[in-house]
Structure formats: structure tokens, C-alpha cells
């Protein structure tokens, strides 16, 4: 039990000196969900067994199970400190070698180190890896140094010192600091966080609430699994600043590890006297409750999220009255995204000026993105606001898979717009993204290459949004169905010239009349592809061809009789027996039977199958 900030300081010092005196090695194994899916928990157990087998003392080596390191594609990951040796794609059979070679004999294991796909060079140490080099990991860095299940680890890296500092400040001063830092809501809207706090502070009501929206996908999951205490610290500071006594963390029920870690964090914070009655002798009381959500896309919308916490179906409501005035149970409510909350301790600790020195003119600080799709290195990245897309995709992401040509990147989740190659020098911040026709949204970045058809991609997102629409307001419910219908006609080869105008008109109507942000942003994929890839739509409609060879109704598979060696592989694999031909003689595809599944195209050893 820690009673006041002096005791907290002393405790943190104690842990730090212990750490400094430690001369042995630390094996930090990522136990984030992605690495666990690839077998990280099994490897952790094997390492513990192996250490026992060799009778290695705690002074020589210790094991640290951490949250997500970000480079999920290469999992399971391991960093051996203090040298920061980076091992990737570890298999259970590699474990004995790691202990005998690296830990006991200080030798690097060649097969486990990272091979840069771009330069073909092998890289031993983590800071040298291009994926990490250009990142600025203000929030994420600590993930590698702490066990999210232990509050001691968090306090050891200076955790909860921001809270101790904040509790000595006036609430108004805290809000001023947040305003000065220029922090904008990480949930996607980009509203100035400080203003939201101010509005909520100014409400005269005895009962106020704070809510943490941890319903998001990749990013929310990694923060809640990897560093739950930073979120809790941010929430306590926020609650103190606006005068709330109860907070909710809204987590998807499908993230059991996140729920477990949050629960543990809340319990241990209570034991330490950081949560509950009279926090650090300041006289301030605060409690946090976890509310599990069902995981619908719409539940990320603030009023739908509030409805879900109230025990209702996650359906948004009109927002003439903002949540800061009447939110949860009609009380003033401060709802922030999990990443926003995690930023708060940093701002309080280092000051607004330090925070504002990072980032672009109007968007401050760092931002976490999930970089996925057809790039070499996928995972979670944290970069300063205002970095260019080119740097993210080609430096951090290591360029396109198999050297294919870059076509587009979608930013902001399913309802984000697609940005073409000509805009690769776009700066990643709230305003530039909006200008380019996309949104910060969920900060997902999906990279598409030349093999992706933009019409088909737009159709895919509209289908997703159509399924996820809650059905409350007409434009979103009906408009998206119509839009999807038109896109289907275009990809089926039944497109007409006037369809393009119809899409524009529908998009305008849906964007302007929908009730919530899901509907308002839903036409983005169509609008942006119409803007940047209009020629592709026109080829679909006029020439009835799909340039990328994706839309089944518009393509044809033909075997080049000169290239075909008659290996019969395609005929064997064809699910409908559409391929005929003698052994060692050119084969033929019967277009009447062919279902265009593309298996022959994939299996042909000499690339004799052509897609037209």
C-alpha cells in the first residue's frame, strides 16, 4: 500500500536501483496476442524449463513476458537485453540453442536474426532494423520493458509519477496543459482533447463519468494487453481534472487477454492505493469498472458505445446534445479513445512543450498506425504526426511484397478513403488526410498493389459497412445497399455510364444525411476511388475489362499453347474438369465450364496460364 507520492517515489527508486545493479541478461518475449497465436506462450514455458535444466541463476538470466512489440509479422519475437539482440520467428526447437549459445556463450544464432527483405542484409540488434529505425515510440517503447501483469514494472519505469504530479496541480491547470500540448482525440475525429475536458469540467453536475474506448481493433488491443496501467493512469488524471468519481473501460469481449490484463491492473492499483478511496492522500476517490462489448463496428461510435454500457443495443443517437453535457445515464461524460488516455501521463510528466515539439503544426505528438496489406514488414508502428506516407510504406514497411507495384493505401479503417501513388508524399496528420479524402479513423493502413482491383476493393468495403450499419437511419441503411448494388453491377460487367453519376449522388446524400460517423464516412472508399481511379471504373463499364484481373465476370483464363508443357497439373487441380489435353501436349480450358477460380493460374509451373 502506497500512501503518498513520497512513498511512490521511494518505491520507484528502489526498483530502478535494483535494475541498474542487475548485470545478467533479460529475455523479453513478446506475449501479445499475435505472437501467442504463433506459439509464444509455449516458447516462454520452454525457456523457463531450459533455464531450470541448466541451473542458471536469476543473476545470470531472467525472463520477461511483455506486451506487443509491434513487429507482429515476424513473431514470435524475443529481445535479449541489455544488448538488444533481436530474434524473430522462433520455433520451439530453437529454444535449447538460445540458452546454450546466446545466454551462456554469448554467441549470435544466425538463423534467428532478421534478414532485411530490401537490402538482403542480416541485422542483429533491434535499433538497427529499418522497421524500428524511423519510428518514434513514445507510448510503445515501454511495452518491451514491462510485464503488463505487474504493477511494479510499470512503477519502475516511472509509472504513476504523472498521477502524483497531477494530484498536486489544480484541475484547471491540468486542462490548460493538455490544451497547450495540442493533443487531439485519437479516436479518429481529431477534436482537441483539452476542449472536451474543459466542457466537461464546466458542467455543473455531482455525477460525471469518464469512459475509455478500448473497443478498437489492432491498436486498442495492443495497448490494453501491453500497457494497461498507462491507460488507467491517464483516466485517473482525466477524472481528477473534470471531477468524476467513476470510470468505465469498454473492451471487446473477444479480447480475453485485454480484459484479464485490465482486471489485474485495476486490482493491483487498488491494492497499491492508486485507485479507490483517497488516492495518494489527495482526498480524491475514483473507481474503474470494465464493461465488455460485443465487438460490433458501430460500437466504436461514442453514443452507441454509451448505449452499450447502459445495457442497450449499440445504436447511436442524434447528437444535438454532446456527451460532455449528457452522456452516460444523462450525466456529463468524458469519453476518450484508449490511445488518447495513454498519451496523458507523458504530457503531464514531460510538459506540454516537450509534447508539442513532436509532430506537425496542427497535429501534435505521435500516432500509432497498424500497417498491413501488401508490404514486407507489417505490424504496429508509432510515428510522429506529419511523417510522409512514402517513409511509412517504403522505409518502415520495407516496400512492397515481391517487388510489385504500389497502387493505393487505405487509411482509417473500412470507411477510409484510398490514396493513390501520386499522393505518397502526403503528410500523415488529421488535416492533410481529410484534404486527401480520407480520415484518421481507426488508423489502419492497408496497402494495395497492382493485383488489387479498386472497384472490387470499394465494393468490399461498402459490403462490410452495409452489414455493419445498425439500420437506424435511412440514408445509411438503404443508401449503402443501393451503392453496393451498383458496384456489383459494374464488377459483373453490367455497368452503365450513368452509374458513375448515380454513385456520386448517392455518396453525397449518405455523407450529408446519415445520423452518425459510420454513415457519414461510409462513402469515402467510393468517393476516393472515383476521384483517383476513375479510369478503372470506366474500363469496367466501357471495355468490360478488369485491368487487375480480379472481377470474375470480366476475366478469362487462357492457356498459352506455346508455353504449356503438358504437365497435367492444372487439369488435375481444376475443380470442374474444364481443362482437357493429352500428357506432354498443350492443354485447353473450356470457357463454358470454367468457373474462373484461378487455381490453374496459381499452380502452373511455367506461367502458361494467362488471365485476360
Amino acid at each position: 500500500m502506497i500512501k503518498n507520492s513520497q512513498q511512490l517515489n521511494a518505491f520507484a527508486k528502489e526498483i530502478q536501483t535494483k535494475k541498474e545493479k542487475y548485470k545478467g541478461k533479460t529475455i523479453a518475449i513478446c506475449n501479445g496476442s499475435s505472437c501467442r497465436a504463433l506459439g509464444a506462450d509455449k516458447i516462454t514455458q520452454l525457456i523457463r524449463d531450459e533455464i531450470k535444466k541448466h541451473n542458471l541463476d536469476v543473476d545470470v538470466v531472467n525472463v520477461l513476458t511483455t506486451g506487443c512489440h509491434g513487429f507482429c509479422e515476424r513473431g514470435p519475437l524475443m529481445i535479449i537485453q541489455p544488448e538488444e539482440i533481436f530474434y524473430q520467428k522462433i520455433k520451439p526447437e530453437d529454444v535449447p540453442e538460445i540458452i546454450t549459445e546466446t545466454i551462456i556463450d554469448d554467441r549470435i544464432i544466425d538463423k534467428l536474426i532478421y534478414n532485411d527483405p530490401k537490402t538482403k542484409k542480416k541485422i542483429v540488434y533491434k535499433p538497427d532494423i529499418s522497421f524500428y529505425k524511423k519510428q518514434m515510440r513514445l507510448l510503445f517503447e515501454s511495452n518491451e520493458h514491462i510485464n503488463p501483469k505487474k504493477i511494479d514494472d510499470y512503477i519502475g519505469i516511472g509509472g504513476y509519477s504523472a498521477l502524483a504530479k497531477a494530484l498536486t496541480m489544480e484541475p484547471e491547470a491540468i486542462i490548460e496543459e493538455i490544451l497547450k500540448a495540442g493533443l487531439r482525440g485519437r479516436g479518429g475525429g481529431g477534436f482537441l482533447t483539452g476542449w472536451k475536458w474543459k466542457f466537461c469540467r464546466n458542467e455543473k453536475n455531482d455525477t460525471k463519468y469518464v469512459i475509455c474506448n478500448a473497443a478498437g481493433a489492432f491498436i486498442a488491443r495492443s495497448i490494453s494487453e501491453g500497457n494497461p496501467h498507462s491507460v488507467i493512469e491517464g483516466m485517473i488524471i482525466g477524472a481528477y481534472a473534470i471531477g468524476a468519481y467513476k470510470g468505465y473501460i469498454y473492451v471487446r469481449h473477444g479480447y480475453p487477454l485485454a480484459i484479464e490484463n485490465f482486471n489485474l491492473a485495476i486490482e493491483s492499483a487498488k491494492e497499491f492505493g492508486i485507485l479507490g478511496q483517497n488516492i495518494l492522500e489527495s482526498g480524491f476517490d475514483f473507481e474503474i469498472v470494465i464493461s465488455r462489448g460485443c465487438g460490433e463496428f458501430i460500437a466504436g461510435e461514442s453514443s452507441a458505445l454509451i448505449a452499450s454500457i447502459e445495457g442497450k443495443a449499440a445504436i447511436p443517437r442524434p447528437k444535438h446534445i454532446h456527451a460532455t453535457e449528457k452522456g452516460l445515464w444523462n450525466r456529463p461524460t468524458l469519453l476518450n479513445n484508449i490511445e488518447t488516455w495513454a498519451n496523458i501521463p507523458f504530457i503531464i510528466n514531460r510538459g506540454a512543450d516537450c509534447y508539442a515539439s513532436v509532430g506537425s503544426e496542427k497535429s501534435k505528438g505521435t500516432k500509432i498506425f497498424s500497417l498491413v496489406g501488401k508490404v514486407n514488414s507489417t505490424g504496429l508502428i508509432e510515428v510522429p504526426m506529419g511523417i510522409t506516407l512514402r517513409e511509412v510504406i517504403f522505409d518502415i514497411g520495407g516496400g512492397m511484397i515481391n517487388g510489385k507495384k504500389f497502387k493505393a493505401v487505405q487509411i482509417g479503417g473500412p470507411s477510409g478513403g484510398l490514396v493513390p501513388e501520386s499522393l505518397l508524399d502526403l503528410h500523415l496528420d488529421f488535416d492533410s488526410l481529410k484534404e486527401a479524402g480520407t480520415i484518421m479513423g481507426s488508423s489502419e493502413m492497408i496497402v494495395f498493389d497492382e493485383d488489387n482491383c479498386m472497384v472490387d476493393t470499394a465494393k468490399f468495403f461498402i459490403k462490410y459497412l452495409m452489414d455493419e450499419s445498425c439500420g437506424k437511419c435511412t440514408p445509411c441503411r438503404e443508401g449503402l445497399v443501393q451503392m453496393h448494388d451498383i458496384l456489383c453491377q459494374i464488377t459483373d460487367g453490367k455497368g452503365r455510364e450513368e452509374h458513375l453519376d448515380m454513385l456520386q449522388e448517392l455518396a453525397w446524400g449518405i455523407a450529408n444525411t446519415s445520423l452518425c460517423q459510420l454513415g457519414k464516412s461510409a462513402p469515402n472508399p467510393v468517393l476516393s476511388t472515383l476521384k483517383y481511379f476513375k479510369d478503372e471504373y470506366e474500363t469496367h463499364i466501357r471495355d468490360k475489362k478488369c485491368p487487375a484481373g480480379v472481377c470474375k465476370a470480366l476475366i478469362e483464363y487462357i492457356i498459352d499453347s506455346e508455353k504449356c508443357i503438358g504437365c497435367t497439373l492444372c487439369a488435375k487441380r481444376c475443380p470442374v474438369n474444364a481443362i482437357s489435353g493429352e500428357k506432354k501436349n498443350p492443354h485447353e480450358i473450356d470457357p463454358m465450364i470454367c468457373i474462373k477460380c484461378g487455381i490453374c493460374y496459381e499452380v502452373c509451373p511455367v506461367n502458361a496460364v494467362e488471365r485476360k
Binding site: H253, G254, Y255, G295, G311, K312
Partner: protein, 428 residues
């Protein structure tokens, strides 16, 4: 013994183009009681109408079948003709051989002719039983009741009231305006709903012909057009309506504001199995009476049973004091809940964007093939249920498949290894 006349119209080419009129005439003449058959190129034209009138008189017909277009168009025309010729208009029937015979079977003349004959036969049979009816008038109550005070209800009430009739407008909520007044803009013209609605709402309040019954519900309705009896229950207001100025201060101060109103709590659990209650109790007991815990409780129950049995929904409704309809609203809105029993293992294929770009749909297709079921279905032995799930936040692993709570990276070309640990997959 009646004397029935049948008139067949060509409708220019519209009927005669598909129906063989001569053959039809011959067959119709053989129907018992048909004493007279004639065809005409345009029966609805003045000469055509005169022909019908003349023939009724000349042949002393006591029933007539006119075969032409839909009765919506010309039944009234020919009934007038019949009345003018001294025949009771209700002794005339229309056989619709254009919309029902010639047009739909335009390219199958034989079929069209055959069908036209059948339709005329039916009309002849009917007209034989028709009685001569007389029109009378009876007094009715010139008052209307409109149920629901949304935009449609308000407009209806105003229209009727402007026509000089008394209207009762019944609204279940404490104010009229409905959903539209809550919107910020309307589709597709972006008009402001408040600007449309508020004048209408005040018109309703001020209209001398409208009696507004807000916060009221219709309990009973009986009777028929012109003679309805309705019973409207006005809900308790707990205030003196004469004195209330509608300042709204009391709702702000009310200690139980926004608490659900439960009129009676049904006791579903009395009829349930002891075993069932023992199983469900631990999920519900910590939250008894807390309507806000609905989603949490349903998630737990769904996890325990792998689906939401009907009894479970009733039990939750009773214990949490949430109306059954509200429980169903939540249970059917979210797709994590299933109202159907599901298999032992729940296989989820992530169809988030990142997974789809890496072939998640192919994975889904392959698993569907392997298990022999479609997404959303359960194998017959209740071993596996397959469903599509939203982004699981493991995008770097894409494509991702979950089996129960475990995550796997799937290979689109071979999904078999996923099921190895569950005793080698299903029978296939």
C-alpha cells in the same frame, strides 16, 4: 334458367394478338346458359358500349360477362351501361383476359386462348350466382382516430381536421413529433426536420378539431368502418395538468429518472427446470435488478450455453427486470449472440480488411468445403459452428481463424492443419 350474354373485346391488337378470338367464341357459346356471344374491336368505345346496351335489351339478357381489360379500368363503365339498359349493375361481371391472359402469354397463343376461356368460364359461373343488389345509405360517425403522433400521424390528423372532421390523435410518448423531430437533416434534400415539424406540432395543439391524447395508448378497438369503439388508456401523469406549465424542472430532479418502468414482473422461472436454473444462476445472480448489466449478462450466458436458449432470455428478463422485448432487441442486434444451438467448437474466420486482402474469403470457402456447412451454420453432429467475425486485432497474422478462444494463422491453400488437434476434423 338464365340468359347470359358474353362480350369479347379485341382491345385493338392487345387481346386478339395472342388470343384466338374465333376459337374462343365457339367454345364460349357451348357453355351452358350462355345464350349470346359477340366480339368487338373496342368494346369500351361509344359504339361498343351502345352494342352492349342494345344487345341486353334485344336478347333480354338477365346477366352479362364482359371480357376485356382489368375491372379497375372498365367495370364501372359497363355496369353503368347495364343500369341504363334496365339490368341490375351487379348482374354484370368482368373477365380480365388482357392482363391475365393475352399480355403474360403473348408468345404462347394456345395457352393464352385456353386461359382466356377458363377465366370467362369462371366469370360466367360467378355471374349466375350474383344477386340483384340495391344501394342504400346509412349514417356514420364523422370522427376519426389517428394512432401515432409521428410526422405521418400529424399530417393525417391535420388533413382530416382541415376537412372539418373531429380527430383524436393518440401518442404513446409524452410528446408528438416521433422520430423525425430527432433527426438533424432529412434525406435527400437536407431540409431541417425541426423547421418542418414544429409548425405542424403547434398546428395540432391549436386546431379546434383535434383532440390530442399524448402519453396514452390504445387498449381496445372493436367495430367496423363508420362504427368503431376504441378504449384509450391515458397513462398516469402524477401531476396536476391544470397547473403544470411544462417547465421540465421536475424530470431533472427526479431521483429515479430514466429508470425502466415495470408494470408487472412475470415469473417465467417458476416453469423452468431446476437443472437449467442451477446452470444459469451464477451468470445472473450478481446482477439481479441491474438493467444496465444486460449486455454483460447475455455475454456470460451466451458463453456458458454457446447460445442463448429461449428460457435463458426469459430468465434474464425476469431477474434483471428488463422487458422481454428489450432483451430480444439486444440479443438479436449483436451477432455474437446466437438464438440457435451451436456446435462444441466455434470456428470464426476474420473477414476484416487486412485478412481479406490476404485471402480470408478463400480460407472461409475452404473451411466451408471441409466442414460441409456454410458460414452461420452448424455441423449435424454439433461439433463445429462456422461464422464470420469482424477484425480480431491480429492483422499482422492475416488471415486469422479462431477456434473457440484460440487464434491461428490460416493458410488459404490448406486449412486442414487447423482442425488436426480437434481429432482430425470432421468425417470428411
Amino acid at each position: 334458367m338464365s340468359r347470359i350474354g358474353v362480350f369479347i373485346c379485341h382491345c385493338g391488337h392487345n387481346i386478339s394478338g395472342a388470343v384466338d378470338i374465333d376459337a374462343l367464341k365457339k367454345k364460349v357459346a357451348q357453355i351452358p346458359d350462355v345464350t349470346f356471344v359477340i366480339d368487338n374491336p373496342y368494346l369500351c368505345s361509344t359504339p361498343g358500349q351502345e352494342l352492349v346496351g342494345d344487345m341486353i335489351k334485344e336478347h333480354q339478357l338477365d346477366a352479362v360477362v364482359t371480357s376485356h381489360c382489368s375491372p379497375t379500368l372498365h367495370e364501372r363503365t359497363f355496369r353503368n351501361v347495364a343500369a341504363n339498359s334496365g339490368l341490375n349493375p351487379y348482374k354484370l361481371e368482368v373477365a380480365n383476359i388482357r392482363e391475365q391472359a393475352s399480355w403474360p402469354h403473348w408468345h404462347q397463343p394456345d395457352l393464352a386462348t385456353k386461359k382466356a376461356f377458363i377465366i370467362i368460364c369462371e366469370s360466367v359461373a360467378k355471374v349466375k350466382r350474383n344477386m340483384a343488389l340495391e344501394e342504400t345509405s346509412v349514417p356514420i360517425t364523422n370522427r376519426a382516430m389517428v394512432i401515432g403522433g409521428g410526422v405521418a400521424g400529424i399530417q393525417t390528423a391535420l388533413d382530416i381536421a382541415d376537412g372539418g372532421h373531429k380527430v383524436y390523435l393518440v401518442e404513446q410518448d409524452s410528446t408528438i413529433g416521433g422520430k423525425m423531430i430527432q433527426l438533424s437533416e432529412t434525406f435527400p434534400t437536407l431540409d431541417c426536420p425541426q423547421c418542418i415539424m414544429t409548425p405542424k406540432m403547434t398546428d395540432v395543439a391549436n386546431h379546434p378539431n383535434i383532440e390530442l391524447l399524448s402519453y396514452s395508448e390504445l387498449d381496445e378497438l372493436e367495430g367496423y368502418i363508420g362504427n368503431f369503439k376504441a378504449k384509450v388508456r391515458r397513462k398516469a401523469r402524477y401531476i396536476n395538468e391544470e397547473k403544470c406549465t411544462g417547465c421540465n424542472d421536475c424530470t431533472q430532479e427526479c431521483p429515479i429518472y430514466n429508470q425502466p418502468m415495470i408494470r408487472y414482473a412475470p415469473k417465467y422461472s417458476e416453469f423452468m427446470d431446476k437443472e437449467f436454473i442451477e446452470k444459469i444462476e451464477p451468470c445472473v445472480t450478481p446482477y439481479v435488478g441491474q438493467s444496465s448489466a444486460l449486455v454483460q449478462v447475455l455475454l456470460d450466458v451466451n458463453m456458458k450455453f454457446n447460445y442463448l436458449p429461449q428460457d435463458a432470455i426469459k430468465y434474464v428478463s425476469e431477474k434483471l427486470r428488463v422487458p422481454l422485448s428489450k432483451v430480444y432487441e439486444v440479443a438479436t442486434f449483436h451477432n455474437v449472440f446466437s438464438l440457435e444451438p451451436r456446435g462444441e467448437h466455434i470456428v470464426g474466420v476474420c473477414v476484416g480488411t487486412a485478412c481479406c486482402t490476404k485471402g480470408a474469403l478463400k480460407v472461409l470457402e475452404e473451411i466451408e468445403k471441409l466442414l460441409g456447412i456454410k458460414s452461420g451454420e452448424t455441423t449435424q453432429d454439433y461439433k463445429y459452428s462456422l461464422m464470420e467475425v469482424n477484425c480480431l486485432g491480429c492483422c499482422a497474422l492475416a488471415p486469422v481463424v479462431t477456434i473457440d478462444d484460440e487464434y491461428f494463422h490460416a493458410d488459404p491453400s490448406d486449412v486442414n492443419p487447423l482442425f488436426d488437434r480437434y481429432e482430425g476434423g470432421s468425417d470428411q
